[in-house]
Amino acid sequence: MAGTSTVVTEQGGEEDRVWTGGCLCGGVRYAIDVRPEPISFCHCAQCRRQHSHVGAYTGAPRAALRLLNDATLTWYASSSRARRGFCACCGAGLFWEALDQDPADGEPRITVTVGSLDDATGLRVERHIFVDHKGAYYDIGDDGVERRTSTGEVVA
């Protein structure tokens, strides 16, 4: 497996670990009670605008995310089907949440910017997505990570 490292495996007794994170100013703080999902780097134009570069997201069941402080958390409807959460005081980008989640598809998820997590995350990167929408001002680099287009096609 790519990204195999020394992190404790899911069978290895990390039941007690809680992943915490938040914005720059502390107006938003959260805890995730389960191991967050592997990371996707998103090269879409919306992430590029909002994060002003590549988006980096992990995810978790919505029920596993506990907001410890949400005094400054603000939501922006970035499309008809999703909203983005950020801190209105310091501008840190925090969450992306689909609005049209069907309960029949399983428990609702929320995605969380990896950069908002407190170090060390112990998380690994799973894939690059929307690579066909990538900005031309940077290269992804030879990282060996799977790359997918906006249609889900695996291109590397």
């Binding site: 938040g22 914005c23 720059l24 100013c25 990371i39 780097f41 134009a45 919306q46 992430c47 590029r48 605008r49 909002q50 994060h51 002003s52 570069h53 590549v54 988006g55 980096a56 997201y57 603000t74 922006y76 970035s78 983005r84 959460g85 950020f86 801190c87 209105a88 005081c89 310091c90 501008g91 840190a92 980008g93 925090l94 910017t113 990896v114 950069g115 908002s116 170090d119 060390a120 995350t121 112990g122 998380l123 690994r124 990167v125 900005g135 031309a136 001002y137 940077y138 290269d139 992804i140 680099g141 030879d142 990282d143």
Partner: protein, 147 residues
């Protein structure tokens, strides 16, 4: 568009003026001068602000012309700098050091394509554990500013 035929994407010497803004359009700007390059920042503050690494150009402040700034909000992120973002859509846009004549603008806020190239990585000492730098560009433990 310059139309001079030699402005290959990434050559950095095109005559095309750059413009940019946030996701919702509450902040829009034009740049009267073209920057030379994009420099990535791996510091912990950029990571929180952008949700991942920062990627910045640097231009003289007086060459940034705002068409819209109604939602532009400033946050004092340290005792020597402020960060600018859109208070409506949360786009993370600017870094402004106190007393400096220049402003740093996050490259993803620019309208694409830019013709710019990323050249260096700065503050790699602050890099997080969840990614590696694999593009072969020069890395600096602290500031990547060059004279």
């Amino acid at each position: 568009m310059s139309g001079n035929g030699n402005g290959r994407e990434g050559s950095g010497d095109q005559g095309q003026a750059l413009s940019g803004g946030c996701l919702c359009g509450g902040v829009r700007f034009l740049l009267a001068e073209r920057p030379d390059e994009v420099v990535n920042c791996h510091c912990g503050q950029c990571r929180r602000f952008h949700g991942h690494i920062g990627a910045y150009i640097t231009v003289p402040r007086d060459t940034v012309i705002f068409d819209a700034d109604e939602t532009l909000t400033w946050y004092r992120s340290s005792d020597f700098a402020e960060r600018g973002f859109c208070g409506r859509c949360g786009s993370s846009l600017f870094w402004k050091g106190d007393g400096k004549s220049e402003i740093e603008i996050a490259a993803g806020s620019l309208d694409q394509p830019t013709g710019l190239q990323t050249l260096r990585h700065g503050y790699v000492e602050g890099k997080a554990d969840y990614y590696e730098i694999t593009d072969g560009l020069e890395q600096f433990p602290g500031s990547a500013e060059v004279e």
